[in-house]
Protein backbone atom coordinates (compact mmCIF):
# COMPACT_ATOMS: atom_id res chain seq x y z
CA UNK A 1 0.00 0.00 0.00
CA UNK A 2 1.10 3.55 -0.70
CA UNK A 3 2.87 5.03 2.34
CA UNK A 4 1.57 8.54 1.62
CA UNK A 5 -2.03 7.42 1.99
CA UNK A 6 -3.49 8.82 5.18
CA UNK A 7 -6.92 7.22 5.45
CA UNK A 8 -7.60 3.54 6.01
CA UNK A 9 -11.06 2.13 5.40
CA UNK A 10 -12.74 0.82 8.52
CA UNK A 11 -16.13 -0.10 7.13
CA UNK A 12 -18.27 0.37 4.02
CA UNK A 13 -21.97 0.68 4.85
CA UNK A 14 -24.57 0.20 2.09
CA UNK A 15 -28.11 1.25 2.96
CA UNK A 16 -30.60 -1.34 1.73
CA UNK A 17 -33.46 1.12 2.10
CA UNK A 18 -32.28 3.41 -0.71
CA UNK A 19 -29.92 1.29 -2.88
CA UNK A 20 -31.46 0.39 -6.25
CA UNK A 21 -28.85 -2.09 -7.39
CA UNK A 22 -27.49 -0.18 -10.41
CA UNK A 23 -24.01 -1.73 -9.85
CA UNK A 24 -22.18 1.46 -10.92
CA UNK A 25 -20.08 1.21 -7.72
CA UNK A 26 -19.05 -2.36 -8.58
CA UNK A 27 -17.92 -1.28 -12.06
CA UNK A 28 -16.21 1.96 -11.02
CA UNK A 29 -14.28 0.62 -8.02
CA UNK A 30 -10.59 0.57 -9.06
CA UNK A 31 -9.77 -2.25 -6.63
CA UNK A 32 -12.82 -4.50 -7.14
CA UNK A 33 -13.92 -4.31 -3.52
CA UNK A 34 -17.59 -5.03 -4.25
CA UNK A 35 -19.41 -8.10 -5.46
CA UNK A 36 -23.02 -8.65 -6.54
CA UNK A 37 -25.11 -10.07 -3.73
CA UNK A 38 -26.69 -13.48 -4.23
CA UNK A 39 -29.78 -12.61 -2.21
CA UNK A 40 -32.22 -9.79 -2.87
CA UNK A 41 -32.61 -6.76 -0.59
CA UNK A 42 -35.89 -5.82 1.13
CA UNK A 43 -36.68 -3.62 -1.90
CA UNK A 44 -36.04 -6.55 -4.26
CA UNK A 45 -32.71 -5.42 -5.73
CA UNK A 46 -29.47 -7.36 -6.08
CA UNK A 47 -27.35 -5.02 -3.99
CA UNK A 48 -23.55 -4.83 -3.96
CA UNK A 49 -21.80 -6.47 -1.01
CA UNK A 50 -18.34 -5.66 0.33
CA UNK A 51 -16.24 -8.77 -0.18
CA UNK A 52 -12.62 -7.51 -0.17
CA UNK A 53 -12.48 -4.59 2.28
CA UNK A 54 -8.70 -5.01 2.80
CA UNK A 55 -8.15 -3.98 -0.83
CA UNK A 56 -10.01 -0.68 -0.35
CA UNK A 57 -7.77 2.37 -0.90
CA UNK A 58 -10.38 4.86 0.43
CA UNK A 59 -10.61 6.73 -2.89
CA UNK A 60 -14.30 7.45 -2.05
CA UNK A 61 -15.32 7.06 -5.69
CA UNK A 62 -18.20 4.70 -4.84
CA UNK A 63 -19.50 7.12 -2.23
CA UNK A 64 -19.25 10.11 -4.58
CA UNK A 65 -20.76 8.43 -7.65
CA UNK A 66 -23.64 6.61 -5.88
CA UNK A 67 -26.88 8.04 -7.37
CA UNK A 68 -28.88 7.16 -4.26
CA UNK A 69 -26.39 8.27 -1.57
CA UNK A 70 -26.57 4.75 -0.20
CA UNK A 71 -22.83 4.15 0.40
CA UNK A 72 -20.87 5.47 3.37
CA UNK A 73 -17.14 4.75 3.55
CA UNK A 74 -15.95 5.05 7.13
CA UNK A 75 -12.21 5.71 7.41
CA UNK A 76 -9.72 6.15 10.18
CA UNK A 77 -6.76 8.51 9.92
CA UNK A 78 -3.47 6.63 9.91
CA UNK A 79 -1.30 7.69 12.85
CA UNK A 80 1.89 7.62 10.77
Amino acid sequence: MNKKRRAITKEIIIDGGVCKGCHICIDQCPEDVFEVSKTRSTKGYLMPVVSRIDDCIACMLCELICPDLAITVETTKDEK
Binding site: G17, C22, E63, L64, C66, L69, T72
Partner: protein
Protein backbone atom coordinates in the same frame (compact mmCIF):
# COMPACT_ATOMS: atom_id res chain seq x y z
CA UNK B 1 -27.83 6.50 4.21
CA UNK B 2 -24.87 8.85 3.95
CA UNK B 3 -24.51 11.57 6.71
CA UNK B 4 -24.79 14.30 4.00
CA UNK B 5 -28.13 12.82 2.95
CA UNK B 6 -29.27 12.60 6.58
CA UNK B 7 -28.49 16.30 6.95
CA UNK B 8 -30.01 17.76 3.77
CA UNK B 9 -32.52 15.33 2.25
CA UNK B 10 -36.30 15.24 2.77
CA UNK B 11 -36.55 11.72 4.14
CA UNK B 12 -40.27 11.37 3.41
CA UNK B 13 -39.43 11.58 -0.33
CA UNK B 14 -36.99 8.66 -0.27
CA UNK B 15 -36.13 6.49 -2.11
CA UNK B 16 -35.72 8.87 -5.06
CA UNK B 17 -38.01 8.52 -8.07
CA UNK B 18 -35.03 8.00 -10.39
CA UNK B 19 -34.53 4.71 -12.21
CA UNK B 20 -31.63 2.52 -11.03
CA UNK B 21 -28.36 4.02 -12.30
CA UNK B 22 -29.80 7.43 -13.23
CA UNK B 23 -27.12 10.13 -13.38
CA UNK B 24 -29.38 12.76 -11.84
CA UNK B 25 -28.86 11.07 -8.46
CA UNK B 26 -25.10 11.57 -8.81
CA UNK B 27 -25.72 15.25 -9.57
CA UNK B 28 -27.84 15.49 -6.39
CA UNK B 29 -25.03 13.77 -4.45
CA UNK B 30 -22.39 16.17 -5.82
CA UNK B 31 -24.64 19.22 -5.36
CA UNK B 32 -25.25 18.41 -1.67
CA UNK B 33 -21.50 18.03 -1.10
CA UNK B 34 -20.84 21.36 -2.84
CA UNK B 35 -23.53 23.05 -0.71
CA UNK B 36 -22.02 21.50 2.43
CA UNK B 37 -18.54 22.73 1.54
CA UNK B 38 -19.73 26.25 0.61
CA UNK B 39 -22.07 26.41 3.66
CA UNK B 40 -24.89 28.15 1.75
CA UNK B 41 -27.79 25.87 2.74
CA UNK B 42 -29.72 28.66 4.51
CA UNK B 43 -29.70 31.00 1.51
CA UNK B 44 -30.64 28.46 -1.16
CA UNK B 45 -33.55 29.07 -3.53
CA UNK B 46 -33.97 26.07 -5.80
CA UNK B 47 -36.08 26.26 -8.96
CA UNK B 48 -36.85 23.50 -11.42
CA UNK B 49 -39.12 22.86 -14.39
CA UNK B 50 -40.65 19.60 -15.54
CA UNK B 51 -38.93 16.32 -16.28
CA UNK B 52 -36.76 13.76 -14.52
CA UNK B 53 -33.94 16.29 -14.04
CA UNK B 54 -36.32 18.75 -12.41
CA UNK B 55 -37.06 16.25 -9.64
CA UNK B 56 -33.46 16.58 -8.43
CA UNK B 57 -33.95 19.61 -6.09
CA UNK B 58 -37.30 18.32 -4.76
CA UNK B 59 -35.46 15.93 -2.44
CA UNK B 60 -33.47 18.75 -0.82
CA UNK B 61 -35.05 19.86 2.47
CA UNK B 62 -35.14 23.59 1.60
CA UNK B 63 -37.25 26.10 -0.39
CA UNK B 64 -37.96 24.59 -3.82
CA UNK B 65 -40.11 25.84 -6.68
CA UNK B 66 -41.20 23.04 -9.02
CA UNK B 67 -42.60 25.13 -11.86
CA UNK B 68 -44.14 24.75 -15.31
CA UNK B 69 -42.45 23.11 -18.29
CA UNK B 70 -39.57 25.13 -19.73
CA UNK B 71 -40.32 28.23 -17.65
CA UNK B 72 -38.05 27.52 -14.66
CA UNK B 73 -35.70 30.35 -15.70
CA UNK B 74 -38.57 32.85 -15.87
CA UNK B 75 -39.63 31.92 -12.30
CA UNK B 76 -36.00 32.02 -11.15
CA UNK B 77 -35.54 35.51 -12.64
CA UNK B 78 -38.56 36.75 -10.65
CA UNK B 79 -37.27 35.09 -7.47
CA UNK B 80 -33.79 36.56 -7.81
CA UNK B 81 -35.02 40.11 -8.59
CA UNK B 82 -37.49 40.07 -5.68
CA UNK B 83 -34.96 38.65 -3.20
CA UNK B 84 -31.38 39.26 -4.38
CA UNK B 85 -29.91 37.73 -1.19
CA UNK B 86 -30.90 34.22 -2.29
CA UNK B 87 -28.51 31.90 -4.11
CA UNK B 88 -30.89 30.98 -6.92
CA UNK B 89 -30.06 27.64 -8.51
CA UNK B 90 -32.03 26.16 -11.40
CA UNK B 91 -32.12 22.44 -12.20
CA UNK B 92 -33.37 21.77 -15.68
CA UNK B 93 -33.13 19.13 -18.35
CA UNK B 94 -32.15 19.24 -22.00
CA UNK B 95 -35.77 19.11 -23.19
CA UNK B 96 -36.92 21.57 -20.52
CA UNK B 97 -34.07 24.06 -21.00
CA UNK B 98 -33.45 24.17 -24.77
CA UNK B 99 -36.45 22.29 -26.18
CA UNK B 100 -39.47 23.86 -24.49
CA UNK B 101 -37.80 26.84 -22.80
CA UNK B 102 -35.00 27.78 -25.19
CA UNK B 103 -36.23 31.34 -25.44
CA UNK B 104 -36.04 31.85 -21.68
CA UNK B 105 -32.49 30.47 -21.65
CA UNK B 106 -31.30 32.92 -24.31
CA UNK B 107 -32.81 35.91 -22.53
CA UNK B 108 -31.65 34.90 -19.04
CA UNK B 109 -28.12 34.61 -20.45
CA UNK B 110 -28.50 37.96 -22.26
CA UNK B 111 -29.51 39.69 -18.99
CA UNK B 112 -26.53 38.12 -17.18
CA UNK B 113 -28.67 37.68 -14.06
CA UNK B 114 -26.82 36.25 -11.04
CA UNK B 115 -28.02 32.65 -10.96
CA UNK B 116 -26.68 29.18 -11.59
CA UNK B 117 -28.26 26.87 -14.13
CA UNK B 118 -27.52 23.15 -14.10
CA UNK B 119 -28.66 21.55 -17.33
CA UNK B 120 -28.78 17.80 -16.76
CA UNK B 121 -28.41 16.48 -20.29
CA UNK B 122 -29.37 12.86 -20.87
CA UNK B 123 -30.11 13.44 -24.55
CA UNK B 124 -33.76 12.41 -24.50
CA UNK B 125 -37.19 13.19 -23.00
CA UNK B 126 -36.87 10.38 -20.47
CA UNK B 127 -39.95 10.80 -18.30
CA UNK B 128 -42.48 10.79 -21.15
CA UNK B 129 -41.12 7.66 -22.79
CA UNK B 130 -38.02 8.50 -24.83
CA UNK B 131 -38.91 11.12 -27.43
CA UNK B 132 -36.17 12.92 -29.37
CA UNK B 133 -34.78 16.07 -27.70
CA UNK B 134 -32.60 18.93 -29.06
CA UNK B 135 -29.43 17.25 -27.75
CA UNK B 136 -30.12 13.70 -29.01
CA UNK B 137 -27.20 12.62 -31.23
CA UNK B 138 -27.78 12.55 -35.00
CA UNK B 139 -28.94 9.16 -36.42
CA UNK B 140 -30.01 8.04 -32.93
CA UNK B 141 -33.08 5.83 -32.77
CA UNK B 142 -35.70 7.01 -30.29
CA UNK B 143 -39.44 6.48 -29.90
CA UNK B 144 -40.23 9.40 -32.25
CA UNK B 145 -37.31 8.81 -34.66
CA UNK B 146 -37.49 5.06 -35.38
CA UNK B 147 -35.43 5.47 -38.61
CA UNK B 148 -32.72 7.59 -36.95
CA UNK B 149 -32.64 11.22 -35.85
CA UNK B 150 -32.35 13.45 -38.96
CA UNK B 151 -31.34 16.53 -36.93
CA UNK B 152 -27.86 17.31 -35.60
CA UNK B 153 -27.68 18.00 -31.84
CA UNK B 154 -27.55 21.57 -30.50
CA UNK B 155 -24.33 22.85 -28.90
CA UNK B 156 -25.97 24.52 -25.89
CA UNK B 157 -22.72 25.83 -24.39
CA UNK B 158 -21.89 27.74 -27.61
CA UNK B 159 -25.46 29.11 -27.61
CA UNK B 160 -25.28 30.54 -24.08
CA UNK B 161 -21.76 31.94 -24.65
CA UNK B 162 -23.01 33.84 -27.70
CA UNK B 163 -26.13 34.96 -25.78
CA UNK B 164 -23.91 36.50 -23.08
CA UNK B 165 -23.49 34.05 -20.19
CA UNK B 166 -20.39 34.85 -18.13
CA UNK B 167 -19.55 31.36 -16.79
CA UNK B 168 -20.07 28.31 -19.00
CA UNK B 169 -18.79 24.86 -18.11
CA UNK B 170 -19.38 21.24 -19.05
CA UNK B 171 -18.93 18.21 -16.78
CA UNK B 172 -20.04 14.60 -16.69
CA UNK B 173 -21.56 12.57 -13.86
CA UNK B 174 -18.77 9.99 -14.21
CA UNK B 175 -16.13 12.30 -12.71
CA UNK B 176 -17.73 13.36 -9.40
CA UNK B 177 -14.71 15.19 -7.93
CA UNK B 178 -14.42 17.47 -10.98
CA UNK B 179 -18.19 17.93 -10.90
CA UNK B 180 -18.19 19.03 -7.23
CA UNK B 181 -15.41 21.59 -7.79
CA UNK B 182 -17.20 22.79 -10.96
CA UNK B 183 -20.51 23.20 -9.10
CA UNK B 184 -18.73 25.20 -6.38
CA UNK B 185 -17.10 27.49 -8.96
CA UNK B 186 -20.41 28.04 -10.77
CA UNK B 187 -22.31 28.90 -7.57
CA UNK B 188 -19.55 31.28 -6.40
CA UNK B 189 -19.49 33.11 -9.76
CA UNK B 190 -21.41 36.40 -9.89
CA UNK B 191 -23.46 36.51 -13.08
CA UNK B 192 -25.21 33.93 -15.25
CA UNK B 193 -23.47 30.58 -14.70
CA UNK B 194 -24.42 27.74 -16.99
CA UNK B 195 -23.24 24.22 -16.24
CA UNK B 196 -23.91 21.53 -18.84
CA UNK B 197 -23.82 18.18 -17.04
CA UNK B 198 -23.76 15.08 -19.23
CA UNK B 199 -25.91 12.59 -17.34
CA UNK B 200 -26.92 9.02 -18.11
CA UNK B 201 -30.45 7.72 -18.71
CA UNK B 202 -30.07 3.92 -18.72
CA UNK B 203 -33.80 3.37 -19.23
CA UNK B 204 -34.27 5.38 -22.45
CA UNK B 205 -30.99 6.68 -23.95
CA UNK B 206 -28.94 3.69 -22.84
CA UNK B 207 -31.40 1.16 -24.17
CA UNK B 208 -32.58 2.77 -27.44
CA UNK B 209 -29.84 5.21 -28.51
CA UNK B 210 -26.69 3.31 -27.46
CA UNK B 211 -28.03 -0.23 -27.12
CA UNK B 212 -26.61 -0.66 -23.62
CA UNK B 213 -28.66 -2.66 -21.15
CA UNK B 214 -26.69 -1.94 -17.98
CA UNK B 215 -26.07 1.45 -16.28
CA UNK B 216 -22.45 0.57 -15.46
CA UNK B 217 -21.61 0.01 -19.17
CA UNK B 218 -23.15 3.39 -19.96
CA UNK B 219 -21.12 5.15 -17.23
CA UNK B 220 -17.95 3.54 -18.57
CA UNK B 221 -18.82 4.72 -22.11
CA UNK B 222 -19.29 8.35 -20.97
CA UNK B 223 -16.05 8.23 -18.99
CA UNK B 224 -14.15 6.94 -22.04
CA UNK B 225 -15.69 9.62 -24.28
CA UNK B 226 -14.99 12.57 -21.98
CA UNK B 227 -11.77 14.54 -22.37
CA UNK B 228 -10.60 17.56 -20.40
CA UNK B 229 -10.26 20.97 -22.05
CA UNK B 230 -6.49 20.99 -21.49
CA UNK B 231 -6.04 17.57 -23.13
CA UNK B 232 -8.41 18.50 -25.97
CA UNK B 233 -6.27 21.53 -26.85
CA UNK B 234 -3.46 19.23 -28.00
CA UNK B 235 -5.67 17.07 -30.25
CA UNK B 236 -6.87 17.67 -33.80
CA UNK B 237 -10.52 18.19 -34.70
CA UNK B 238 -10.77 14.70 -36.17
CA UNK B 239 -9.50 13.09 -32.98
CA UNK B 240 -12.08 15.02 -30.97
CA UNK B 241 -15.03 13.74 -33.01
CA UNK B 242 -17.56 12.09 -30.70
CA UNK B 243 -15.68 13.25 -27.59
CA UNK B 244 -17.21 15.22 -24.71
CA UNK B 245 -14.97 18.19 -23.84
CA UNK B 246 -15.26 18.89 -20.12
CA UNK B 247 -14.09 21.79 -18.01
CA UNK B 248 -14.60 25.54 -17.69
CA UNK B 249 -15.28 26.57 -21.29
CA UNK B 250 -15.86 30.31 -20.90
CA UNK B 251 -15.59 32.88 -18.11
CA UNK B 252 -15.59 36.68 -18.20
CA UNK B 253 -16.61 39.48 -15.84
CA UNK B 254 -16.91 42.49 -18.14
CA UNK B 255 -20.71 42.48 -18.49
CA UNK B 256 -23.08 44.30 -16.05
CA UNK B 257 -25.16 42.09 -13.76
CA UNK B 258 -28.96 42.43 -14.06
CA UNK B 259 -29.95 42.64 -10.37
CA UNK B 260 -27.31 45.33 -9.68
CA UNK B 261 -28.62 47.37 -12.63
CA UNK B 262 -32.19 46.98 -11.35
CA UNK B 263 -31.22 48.06 -7.81
CA UNK B 264 -29.45 51.13 -9.21
CA UNK B 265 -32.51 52.06 -11.30
CA UNK B 266 -34.82 51.62 -8.29
CA UNK B 267 -32.71 54.00 -6.20
CA UNK B 268 -32.44 56.62 -8.97
Amino acid sequence: MHPIAEKYIRKSALPTIFCPGCGHGTVLNSFLRAVDQLDIFNTLGLVSGIGCSSWTPVFVNTDVMHTVHGRALAFATGLKVSNPKLDVIVFTGDGDCVGIGGNHLIHAARRNIDMTVFMLDNGIYGMTGGQVSPTTPADAKSQTTPYGNPEPPLDVCALVVSAGATHVARYTTTQPRTLISGIKKAIAHKGFSFVHIISQCPTQTGRYVYGLTKPDEYVRMIREQSISLAAAGKRSTEELKGKIITGLLHECSDRPEFVETMTRLRRA
